[in-house]
Point group: C2
Chain length 228, copies 2
DNA sequence: TAGATTGTTAATCGATTAACAATC
DNA sequence: TAGATTGTTAATCGATTAACAATC
């Protein structure tokens, strides 16, 4: 389904840059810019032109010598590569704050990412509706999955429940999990897991804050010494 | 402030693994496990023992030959490295769903990450309170920052407003931004930005879904051919 | 002491960057 | 045609893994 017809595995470094290319190309498209060279794009995105060309050429030759890339064409090609040319059904497991935030995020739908149901254990939530999406008792999940196609399960449960439910999802045939729980899920190899570990992300920010402070201190110290 | 007293810059690959080490060590601590070797930890975390030792030795020699690592000691050392041995004041810019979800996430406070205020433009939200945290008019942000120490600003605004507000934050002296907005902020070098691009994360998951489907198709095809 | 396991150097692997012939 | 810019190969850089002497 992806445009790469060769067999070589694309590195995850490359894949992680694709959405960013897609975003920048979308912006260019909105600004009615029809063509762009790797050099121009490189200046905008703050990566090397070489990397852009290397990345794109993993999937095919989308450009033209002496011209560059046609923005709309490249945008649509990356769209296809990312699999954004079809509709996905998503379910949210965990109707807490993050779960609700995701259901309320209307941009997903515009991209063909449709949240079809939310599941929770909390009786106060069950039966409620968020933006027209019903919250079901988590007990009903087996029934739901057997009657509805589910492409992605979004897991926003607390640590304690996440593993068990993830295993259940895997056994029910769910093949992709977007995991917001603060655990590393251990699942069969054919289940794809993409983690969003918010706390980890914040911690790396804190690390960098202190790193900067250390350097500043060192600089001040050096300055101090030099000036004497 | 970090424990690395040498000058060599720690690579971001290493830094991004630190929270994971911290998490696993915390789990071990809770299970009353007092010592662990890089080999044992490697099996648990699914990375090489060599990498663990290399990573840790960027910050110092925390282990002991023939023994391994003392779990509690290493846990606390990583805690210090990550800067989790002090309190941080955070503000949330954007009182929407994600902003509210973050305020409601009680685990932050347990780690010394205190959200002191939320800012929004929506008059319906201004004046409200989430878990005791007040939502202010975003107009009040200058006043707030000059009267209160702000270590991190969490930016959860829509794309359109994010850049402008980020610049304002930078000019008001905020030195770290945890950015949930779907834009790459262009800020002075001394402002640290950590991005959480949720849509990008989901897109890489979608890519992998289709990648698998492609491979499966190829396998089926090969099987088909072989069987004939 | 013998066994275990670190810290660290060396080897390998992979990803990024540079260079340039091909070609629009 | 001349200039621009790609696609791609080669060179470099950095990160991961392997190996092993040091030592608890």
């Amino acid at each position: 389904m992806n445009s790469n017809n060769s067999d070589k595995k694309i590195s995850s470094a490359v894949i992680s840059r694709l959405p960013r290319y897609y975003r920048y190309l979308g912006d260019l498209l909105e600004s009615d810019i029809t063509r762009i060279s790797s050099k121009e794009l490189s200046a905008k995105m703050n990566i090397t032109a070489s990397q852009i060309r290397q990345d794109l050429n993993n999937f095919g030759g989308f450009g033209q010598q002496g011209y560059g890339y046609n923005v709309e064409y490249l945008y649509n090609e990356i769209k296809k590569i990312l699999g954004l040319d079809r509709v996905y059904n998503l379910i949210v497991i965990g109707g807490g704050n993050i779960g609700q935030a995701l259901v309320n995020y209307t941009n997903f739908e515009r991209r063909g990412l449709v949240i079809t149901a939310v599941f929770d254990i909390n009786p106060r939530l069950i039966g409620m509706t968020i933006r027209g999406v019903k919250i079901y008792d988590i007990e009903k999940i087996e029934e739901f999955i057997s009657n509805n196609k589910v492409d992605v399960a979004i897991l926003t449960l607390p640590r304690s429940q996440a593993c068990k439910v993830a295993n259940q999802l895997a056994s029910l045939g769910v093949k992709a999990i977007w995991n917001f729980s603060h655990v590393d899920l251990k699942l069969p190899e054919d289940v794809i897991v993409e983690n969003v570990h918010l706390t980890d992300s914040l911690m790396t920010l804190l690390y960098k804050i202190n790193e900067v402070e250390t350097h500043e201190t060192e600089e001040e110290y050096n300055e101090h010494n030099t000036n004497q």
